[in-house]
Amino acid sequence: MSPEQLESLHAYVGFGPEGAAALRALHPHVAPHGAAIIDDFYDAIRTHPGASGVIRGGPEQVARLKGTLRKWLDEVLLGPHDAAYLESHARIGRVHVRIELPQELMFTAMNRIRSQLHRVVESAALGSDTSRAHARCAVDQVLDLELAIMLDTYREALTDKLRARERLATIGELSATLAHELRNPLGTVESSLYLIQRRVEKLGLDDDVLGRHHERIGNQVRECATIITNLLELARERPIARQRVDVRALAVDALEAARLPAGVQGTVAVDPALTVEGDEAQLRQVLVNLLRNAAEALPGGGNIRVLAEHQPPWVHLEVSDDGPGIAPEIRQRIFELLFTTKAAGTGLGLALARRICEAHGGTLSLESSTAGARLRVSLPAGR
């Protein structure tokens, strides 16, 4: 929602300077009840089966959320209800979207606040019945505007999702054609390479230059094949063949399949007892993509480490490198489809990796790191 749209909604419900003044006047009367209003709000959430599930962080998270709600309440009453207000409250809305708070609960939770504020309006010494009526009206107006802001964040998320899906559908159609068109010439190059190799062996040639270029062509052909595979995997929604996967073996296989360039040293330090629930081939693809991505950040060579940690119900797998790290301004964007910072990058690898993790009920995130980049895959642990 733009500040102009919010302004037009203000006009629509008739919320203006008088309403804002009535809320400011109400604030000192609400303040003594603030803690009680907020406790009531979170008590209701705690006892509601649908709402309590979205708060997974325990008492610490609740304490933090209570702080945010207190600040929110102060801003609602004190204003100013301007562009900065809109931005800060939309951010709260986006948190609701991210934690998947159902819209109906967002709506009804607002009713708790409304009832509590009405109660304060009834009991406060506001001077006259007219002031009381004004205050009640302003509370309703500002809370309805608040709902409009919150609802808009849900719409925003839906639009983003639809746009991403449309983009994927287009890529899907294109890639099926591309795959066929490119895999044939690629197959020809690869099979010619095979025939050359046989010929070289037959002639008993042992030549460094020949060998080096043969290997280089082979590597590049495999690189192309990987890009095509990533593209196709992104385009089709492959069902997950769930099984128990040995994390250490998975990491070792992925390290081998990633074919890290010379000068890049990959190490796996994973407890052999660790397992996750998932599709082995797809998870290997995730790690291969993360390893390749890390290797691309190390043009002059370097180290990549794969670590794993069991934190029930999750297994966290980390791929870290000692490269230059990821600039703060692009941290939010690295998982976006088609986003890349590399001249030869496609913007497919990390987007696909994240999609596979999410399809597994897990996450892929960029962790903060003092040196290099640290990417973390969190997957449901095997039982």
């Binding site: 066929h180 044939n184 197959g187 020809t188 095979y194 025939l195």
Partner: protein, 141 residues
């Protein structure tokens, strides 16, 4: 073994078809090369083959149509399908038509050799029996 096993190769990409022929010939197979499913079906009717190696996407009828055509004529000729886009639907259809395997392109050559060597085992019965034998159970890649 005596004479080389005769394979029918159906592939419309000429360069790839030539390479596959050369590679298979180097492995002691004899290869008859055609570029369409229609030509493949005609060839299978007039000559004896130990098996078929076919691309899926071809101009006109597809490699899977070729398989269906063979089965409709009562032929159980062993087949291996090469596909640039081996999605679940293609794999399932090929397997239902008795294909021994579906190999994604670029083709894993050792796997291809293994499969076509298997044609020889199947064709080892009485002369002319290969085209009438039971289709072998499909195998996953």
């Amino acid at each position: 073994m005596g004479t080389a096993l005769r394979l029918l190769l159906v592939e419309d990409n000429d360069a790839l078809a030539q390479n596959l022929s050369e590679i298979l010939e180097a492995e002691q197979f004899s290869v008859h090369r055609v570029a369409t499913a229609e030509a493949g079906l005609a060839a299978a009717e007039t000559a004896e083959f130990a098996g078929v190696v076919t691309d899926v996407r071809l101009p006109g009828a597809s490699g899977l149509d070729l398989l269906a055509g063979l089965r409709a004529r009562g032929s159980a000729l062993p087949c291996v399908v090469l596909s640039a886009f081996a999605d679940e639907g293609t794999v399932a259809r090929a397997e239902a038509l008795g294909a021994i395997d579906v190999l994604a392109k670029p083709v894993n050559l050792p796997r291809l050799f293994q499969v076509v060597q298997g044609f020889g085992a199947r064709a080892g019965g009485e002369p002319g029996d290969a085209a009438r034998s039971e289709p072998c159970p499909p195998r996953r890649r």
